[in-house]
């Protein structure tokens, strides 16, 4: 749960938003968060630094707006041609160097101030190097899902990123290396950090140090093809113990269960294994998500649907009904095969 302090800041952010957007009505209830992806509800250092800068920039631009808008309104009201106009032309004024100089120098000073505030935050976010206890994750963008590899921990998973919560006093940040297997993508979880693109042949890095546990949402923010819209991001921020438990569980190979051997046979003798891995079996494809611990995930199809047996069946039968343009082919299985296959997948915990 968010602490009182951060709740207070979130309310402040909301109120500023109201002023800027002139839309007070919809924000009437400040106790409920506006949106799980609100950039003004930061929960990690990069997002918080950006939040601070954004308040400063909003204040400066808001002040400029008020001044210039007042001048515009004043001249439109004050200098309108009146009904009983004498028909003579107003005094013809051609310019004034002093005035021009004033409205050149003042904006230059404002720009310098804005630049310095911006450069500071760029340094905070871009020049931080990973401490020795940082978690290293490699995120690989695919059409249209996310692959996560924890090189130091020997874990491979998909679509749901798990990271430990970071204590502000003894931070355990997560440093993410961003790669792409195909086209450009962008990793954007607004409450944790700004977005960074995943570009093939151009590795990028970013970092987060979430300070509250919970699930943080986001989605791909660079158009990557037909199903760009359903390439959703879920980041699970867990306590240290929960995270360690999750890692231990993810490192186990898949358990073979004789009760579902028929389903396993179907899985291993159809196209499934061309793209999917189930560790400890012959399935070692890498084009699609690793399914070794499929049932430990809350969603399927990169967050497009809840991970329920019905959704799994619909997905396997024809992915296009849930996510048109998805690159997984329809499997053309009959009902018995589908049931057996689903039963097998449900043992992959």
């Amino acid at each position: 749960m968010p602490s009182q302090g951060s709740n207070h800041r979130r309310v402040l952010g909301s109120q500023i938003l109201v002023c800027i957007c002139c839309s007070a009505a919809a924000f009437a209830d400040p106790t409920s968060p506006l949106s799980p992806t609100n950039i003004f509800a930061p929960a990690s250092t990069p997002a918080k630094s950006i939040f601070g800068l954004s308040l400063f920039v909003l204040a400066v631009t808001g002040a400029i707006f008020l001044v210039v808008f007042t001048l515009l309104l004043y001249s439109v009201v004050k200098f309108r041609k009146t009904k009983n106009d004498d028909g003579r032309e107003p005094p013809q004024v051609y310019g004034s160097n002093q005035v021009e100089l004033a409205w050149t120098i003042i904006p230059i000073l404002i720009v310098v101030a804005l630049f310095m505030a911006t450069a500071r935050v760029i340094a905070v976010v871009q020049k931080t190097s990973p401490p020795s206890n940082a978690i290293a994750v490699t995120a690989i963008g695919h059409q249209f899902w996310w692959e996560y590899r924890y090189p130091g921990l020997g874990v491979v998973t998909a679509n749901e990123l798990h990271v430990p919560v970071s204590d502000p006093v003894h931070p355990t940040p997560t440093f993410i290396t961003l790669l792409s297997a195909d086209t450009d993508h962008s990793f954007w979880v607004p409450r944790l950090a700004g977005k960074t693109d995943l570009i093939p042949n151009h590795p990028n890095t970013m970092w987060i140090d979430p300070q509250e546990t919970g699930v943080y949402l986001g989605q791909c923010a660079q158009y990557c093809g037909t199903q760009h819209a359903k390439m959703l991001l879920r980041v699970y921020v867990q306590s240290k113990d929960e995270f360690d438990g999750w890692i231990r569980q993810q490192r186990q190979p898949a358990i073979t269960n004789d009760a579902v051997s028929e389903g396993q046979r179907i899985f291993e003798t159809t196209a499934c294994i061309n793209c999917h891995t189930v560790s400890g079996t012959v399935a070692n494809g890498r084009f699609g998500p690793d399914l070794t611990h499929l049932m430990s995930r809350d969603t399927i199809a990169a967050g497009a649907a809840a991970n329920t047996p019905e959704n799994l069946q619909r997905w396997i039968l024809n992915p296009n009904t849930m996510k048109p343009g998805s690159l997984m082919p329809a499997m053309e299985l009959n009902e018995q095969e589908l049931d057996a296959l689903t039963a097998y997948l449900e043992t992959l915990r």
Partner: protein, 557 residues
């Protein structure tokens, strides 16, 4: 005081068969006819691209809507963006430049009339080629026909691996062909402004309209060339085994971004500087004062031209540039706010102390000022790179650039249409319909684009054909979509007004606004040779001098 006395008596051309008249239009090299062809062509594409926008907005009216498929949606945003930039705003600006520059600088035609015709037809065929993709192509993984790679077509989505079929080729070739047209027109505008001015009109005495279009034309040459180069490189990649953008073979996706945006950002100024030019002509006339600080306005425009060549990578703050590069593009981007701010202050100072008449063109220009101010300020927000790490590629940036292009450029354009329609057609438009158009479009614009900022702040990325419920985006998207219908109604009133006034409007006379630049000294519409005698000017406002021989401008300049 009217200048009707100076205009020639109207000579009605004998009625000719329609085929002969059409033939005249197709083979014309007259700058006025080519200008009008550009305008009509752009209005047709405005309707098409507007319908594409409406289709997208209907799809986004609520979460998980299935009005259209993702494949269709992706084609719609690609076609909408490409069409609006390359086949609406650019041609419409070239149309006004073509029509007005020779009239404003007191000459008979553009410097190269045949190049002028060639350029128009290249642009025209470019647009037709783009839309021919609807019958001639298919695209991403079996997904359709029209291009669906987005208007900036990032590599490697455009490679043959990801974009099978020919839709990307239609996109590439359409931009290549219309790019040649744009460069031809730019060369023509530069040559005309530099070499064809009437006696007495030094560079310092040109109307600001000519100055600003000169800067625009310079930018076109500098900006469209790299785009053309990039399109050729893309074709080489796709058909001749090149690897410029082929990331699998060591090519670079980021190089495409640099090529595209080194075109793409100056392009924004290519579009907006002519809008500044309209405002700089219309605001003085309806405030009854000369433009405030003419030399500063020229200097600020030239400064914008130069600075705009060094800001392109602010479109790329999220691609992982070094902090040094990010800092450079922050400072250059913010620097451009200074000359832009100067221009806004000068327009305000022009209105200050004047006698403002709220005719339709002026209403549009005042709204332009207000909206361009906001667009500039949201631009500064995105110029602060870390803030842009959130805002970039979100609906905030979509709202921002529509604020520039619709709230700024299109509003100024509507002002220009109403202001010069009497000159081009000889008829006066309906002021009532003009004001109805203004208010409908103003309400629609603000409903759509004010509220579009908010889902961006709440984490909604652009180019998604649908979205999840429960993200706090639903209400905003509904309001945004409602606004679109007001805008569409406004556009229909606008087109109706033009058509009705053309056939039924009252005669406008040569100088309905009591204007000061040379185009108001000749007939409406002007004869093929423009002026009966070559004008001779002594100041920036030759008609003011004529109308006020006791107090001419040249005494003060």
């Amino acid at each position: 005081m009217s200048t009707d006395a100076m205009a020639l008596p109207r000579t009605e051309p004998a009625s000719r068969p329609i085929v002969a008249r059409l033939h005249d239009w197709v083979t014309t090299v007259d700058h006025k006819r080519l200008g009008i062809l550009y305008l009509i062509y752009a209005l047709v594409f405005l309707l098409i691209a507007g319908v594409e926008a409406m289709i997208m907005r209907i799809q986004l009216i609520r979460p998980h809507n299935d009005f259209i498929s993702p494949q269709v949606f992706n084609r719609m945003f690609t076609m909408h963006g490409t069409t609006m930039i390359f086949f609406v705003i650019m041609p419409v600006m070239f149309g006004f430049a073509n029509y007005l520059i020779p009239l404003m600088i007191g000459t008979r035609d553009m410097a190269f009339p045949r190049l002028n015709a060639f350029s128009f037809w290249m642009t025209a065929f470019g647009g037709l080629l783009l839309y021919f993709s609807l019958v001639g192509a298919n695209g991403l993984y079996g997904a359709g026909n029209a291009p669906d790679v987005g208007w900036f077509a990032y590599a490697p989505l455009t490679s043959r691996t990801f974009s099978v079929g020919h839709s990307t080729d239609f996109w590439t070739l359409a931009l290549l062909v219309s790019g040649f047209g744009s460069i031809g027109t730019a060369v023509n505008i530069i040559a005309t402004v530099l070499c064809m001015r009437c006696p007495g009109m030094t560079l310092a005495k040109m109307p600001l309209f000519a100055w600003l279009n000169l800067v625009m034309a310079g930018l076109v040459i500098l900006a469209v060339s790299p785009l053309t180069a990039a399109q050729i490189m893309l074709l080489v990649d796709r058909y001749l085994g090149g690897h410029f953008f082929d990331t699998q073979a060591g090519g670079s996706a980021v190089i495409w971004m640099h090529f595209f945006w080194v075109f793409g950002h100056p392009e924004v100024y290519v579009l907006v500087i002519p809008a500044f030019a309209f405002a700089s002509e219309i605001i003085p006339v309806f405030s009854r004062k000369p433009i405030f600080g003419y030399p500063v306005m020229v200097g600020a425009t030239v400064a914008i031209g130069f600075i705009s060549m060094s800001v392109w990578a602010h479109h790329m703050f999220t691609v992982g540039m070094s902090s040094a590069a990010n800092n450079f593009f922050v400072i250059s981007t913010m620097a451009i706010a200074v000359p832009t701010g100067i221009k806004i202050f000068n327009w305000l100072a022009t209105m200050w102390g004047g006698k403002i008449e709220f005719k339709t063109p002026m209403l549009f220009c005042i709204a332009f000022l207000f909206q361009f101010l906001i667009a500039g300020l949201t631009g500064i927000m995105q110029g602060a790179a870390p803030f842009d790490w959130h805002l970039g590629n979100s609906y905030f940036v979509v709202a921002h650039f529509h604020y520039v292009i619709v709230g700024g450029i299109l509003f100024a354009l509507f002002g220009a249409f109403y202001y010069w329609f009497p000159k081009m057609s000889g008829k006066m438009y309906s002021e009532t319909l003009g004001k109805l158009h203004f208010w409908l479009f103003l309400i629609g614009f603000h409903l759509t684009f004010d509220f579009m900022h908010i889902p961006g702040l709440l984490g909604m990325p652009r180019r998604i054909y649908t979205y999840e419920p429960g993200r706090g985006w639903d209400t905003w998207n509904l309001i945004v979509t409602i606004g679109v219908f007001f805008q569409a109604a406004g556009i229909l009133v606008f087109l109706g007004n033009l058509l009705w006034s053309y056939f039924r409007g009252k005669a406008a006379g040569s100088d309905p606004w009591d204007g000061w630049t040379l185009e108001w000294s000749t007939n409406s519409p002007p004869p093929a040779y423009n002026f009966y005698t070559t004008p001779l000017v002594q100041s920036r406002r030759p008609l003011w001098d004529l109308k006020h021989p006791d107090d001419p401008d040249w005494k003060y300049e």
